[in-house]
């Protein structure tokens, strides 16, 4: 809680002190918490400002001033040799659910609370260290990136495994209060590892290949099994991931604000120890619609496809992700074999999302209001809509009735389909409000968080302050 107050204090102080600078900054994308290797964020060697997710444009000519400066955020600079930028983020949300199964009514909860620094040492080394309290204190990002060349960089430390457009998008440039169900459920999140990445061919292609110590922090904690005599302890194996995107319109003569269509794909592979450790499905409403009921063991793979395109004030994005959790030796046998393999548990999800900044600001790299509140305007307004579906089932299930048995060959799957309609109000460069109405429909209501209720409604208003 003290940490929250520290974050709030730092933010308020910074925002008050930053007002004059903000007035001078003009329409320039806001730096964010979009971390490596988020779309648009990899070629980040800009000694003046470490750019945010989606910010692919060069920084403006910076005043060559050493020492402490405010350039949309507090910063220490010594020529091109050293830069240290402060970072902070605070979120809170008011939520209500229908049906109100907990009886809490409308409730307030803190969201992300983060403090950190990022910057560079010479033009060849970048770094970031961000700590978050959500809910427990943990280092979110802690890495160093060495970039001898724009197309050949090496990053090591803790950061996001390169998988999933929306997962790699930082919270300050998300379009909705919550990421899609598929991003929450099927992407790996952060881990400790090393990654080669870059943007060759005039930044038309973006690639990343990395090796990590585990499958990331986004899946729930692993369950360990009691060992039988003679058995060796099972550790989670290393994972590896690869992602590549291409921006084909960069090869055309389209203006820059239209040519950032990006399509790509990604793949991950990890070894997951024996236990009820498959990926699970959670509703926005709160609670599981597909819980960790089934035993798994062996490789977990993910395949993702993505497309994103910012066209002036409009933005479109879509993703399709399939995950598979192996179940080696988890069966109950028959006349001819003992402990057979079972069909994999397949998670499959997609979303299509679109936004429109009705006040006309460009969407690329995030929305930065032309006329902030109390500076001659009321900020920027954006409307957003998303449709998504996430399902879990057996891959190639045998012809037998589905079951909740933890060793069922044909598991009792479930799916969640959701509409989200939203309005985003960008008060100024640092502050925004998001209002979302989310309507979810479960295929099997009995397996949902409010048994018997297949339709779930969530209304949420979130404020966000950060730099």
């Amino acid at each position: 809680m003290r940490a929250s107050y520290a974050v709030i204090g730092a933010l308020v102080a910074a925002l008050f002190s930053a007002a004059p600078a903000a007035a001078q900054s003009g329409a320039f994308p806001a730096p964010g918490f979009g971390l490596q290797p988020a779309p648009g964020s990899w070629p980040r060697l800009q000694p003046v400002s470490v750019s945010s997710i989606g910010d692919t444009r060069p920084s403006p000519p910076a005043a060559k001033k050493d020492g402490f400066v405010w350039d949309n955020r507090p910063s220490l600079r010594y020529g091109d040799w050293f830069q240290l930028d402060g970072k902070a983020l605070l979120e809170g949300a008011v939520e209500s659910h229908d049906p109100d199964d907990t009886g809490d009514g409308t409730s307030f909860e803190w969201g992300r609370r983060r403090l950190g620094v990022q910057g560079s040492v010479t033009q060849y080394v970048e770094y970031e260290a961000t700590y978050g309290w959500e809910p427990d204190g943990v280092w979110r990002d802690l890495y160093v990136n060495v970039r001898p060349l724009a197309y050949a960089q090496i990053q090591g430390g803790k950061f996001k495994i390169p998988f999933g457009y929306e997962r790699l998008t930082g919270p300050r440039t998300l379009d909705f209060v919550y990421r899609s169900r598929v991003s929450d459920a099927l992407t790996p999140g952060r881990s400790v590892g090393v990654m080669a990445h870059g943007r060759p061919f005039k930044r038309v292609i973006r690639y990343a290949v990395g090796m990590f110590e585990d499958d990331g922090d986004q899946p729930p904690d692993l369950e360990s099994m009691d060992m039988v005599p003679g058995e060796q302890p099972q550790e989670q194996g290393r994972s590896w991931a690869a992602r590549a995107t291409v921006a084909p319109l960069r090869l055309t003569s389209l203006p820059g604000r239209y040519n950032n269509l990006e399509v790509g794909g990604a793949y991950t592979h990890a070894l997951v120890p024996e236990g009820r450790n498959h990926l699970q499905g959670d509703t926005v409403f709160g609670g599981e619609f597909f819980d960790r009921q089934y035993y798994t063991k062996g490789p977990r793979t993910r395949l993702g496809l993505e497309v994103s395109w910012a066209i002036g004030p409009a933005f479109l994005a879509a993703e399709y992700i399939v995950s598979r959790d192996a179940r080696e030796g988890q069966g109950v046998g028959n006349e001819t074999q003992v402990d057979p393999d079972l069909p994999e548990i397949e998670g499959r999800g997609w979303y299509v999302a679109g936004t429109w900044v009705i006040t006309g600001e460009n969407r690329d790299g995030g929305v930065n209001p032309k006329r902030p509140l109390l500076q001659g305007g009321f900020g920027a307004i954006e409307v957003a809509a998303r449709y998504e579906r996430l399902s879990f089932e057996s891959a190639g299930a045998p012809a037998e009735p589905p079951s909740r048995s933890p060793r069922a060959a044909h598991i009792a799957g479930n799916a969640d389909s959701a509409w989200t309609l939203g309005v985003n109000w960008y008060v100024n460069r640092w502050a925004k409000l998001r209002f979302n109405v989310i309507s979810e429909t479960l295929d099997d209501a009995l397996l949902g968080p409010a048994p018997g209720a297949s339709s779930l409604r969530t209304m949420v208003t979130m404020f966000q302050i950060g730099f």
């Binding site: 099994m225 009691d226 039988v228 030796g329 988890q330 069966g331 109950v332 046998g333 028959n334 006349e335 003992v338 402990d339 299930a397 045998p398 012809a399 037998e400 009735p401 589905p402 079951s403 909740r404 048995s405 933890p406 060793r407 069922a408 060959a409 009792a412």
Partner: protein, 416 residues
Amino acid sequence: MAARRLLAGALLLAALCADTREAAAQTSADLFNDQALQRIDLYVNTRDWYWLRALPESSDYYPANMKWNGITVTNVAIRRKGTASRAGVKPALRVDFDRYAAGRTFLGLTALSFNNVWQDASGLRELLALKVYRTLGLPASRIAPVALYINNQYAGYYLAVEEIDEPFLARAFGESSGYLFEYRRVSNYYFEYLGTDLAPYAAIYEPKTRETESDGSLYLPVEAMVRAVNEAPDEDFAAAVSPHVDLEAFMRLTAAQAAVAEPDGLLGGVGMNNHFLYRSGQRAPHRFVPWDASLALAAADYPLHAWHAENVLMRRALTVPSLTRLYYDTLVAAANLFDQADGAAGAGQAAPGWLEREASRLLDLVRPAMLADPVKPFTNAEFDAGAEEVLAFTRIRGEFVRWEARRFKPGARPVY
């Protein structure tokens, strides 16, 4: 995607049709047919089977497949069961068919018990006792001898026993919508009044149906029954208690248990034990259902009045002449059943009675399974001795019961 769903739906429909077709050819009567040794296969993940055996006190469920007579039931749940019989190497098991899929049944059963024959060297006692109860028209579980295989390896001789649950109630009483309780022995209890607080009744009678109803709904009728049994005036006992207990059914059951020399049933040295209690509605009388007769056939001269004086219900019921007559009539009926001949006797021999014939027939079925049982807690010699003891019981018990019943004719004061 649509094609895949269509194919999956067609496969599921085909599987369900196949399952129904196979199941239609068999019934639960076939499963509990004691004219044959039933082979039942359970397939369990080796890790689960290890932990099921390694944790005797645990009642955790493990997934399994079960195969009987060509029918495979996938995704059943098995767990350890029993109290005194919680053996490590040869666990007694309960199979639940509906744990992982609500409403699912197998041959109309929602659950099935596999008793591990841990306390009976002959492997015959429970088979015979429950058969006697059913033959006398009492509600009791069906039971069959089983050669149980786990993961294709012989796991020993077991008894498949019909669970006391809703399908049983429907079969035995014609309806299953009432209140069913399983007795949990916490101390030597002889039906004394436990007071107006419902907690002591809840401690000994665990609800098996309508579990979510209030304690008042579940146990006020139980408290009223016990109070009536203890406090009704002698001259008005039957009239006062009959609304709460089916006294005639109680007398028939206690007589049958006395006839088969059951020392661990409704009347026993450790108080009441091994039974269920059922009432079909809030105002209906309670009925007792026997359970676990593995210690029956205790001795050919087991007294017919054992623990009558200690048990309040039995002691007071015997003061009602019509109930006393019913008790002795049932004893004689049981004795006559035991000795019911089938055909002429051999030269110089008495014709074997029904109970002896049943014991001999079952022994022929059980013997190979018992001898091959690698984990039974008895030697083969002990098995032979136990079987001979049971056979001797079957030859003598009928005459003993008739003689004793004549001696203690209705109205006479029991002598122990």
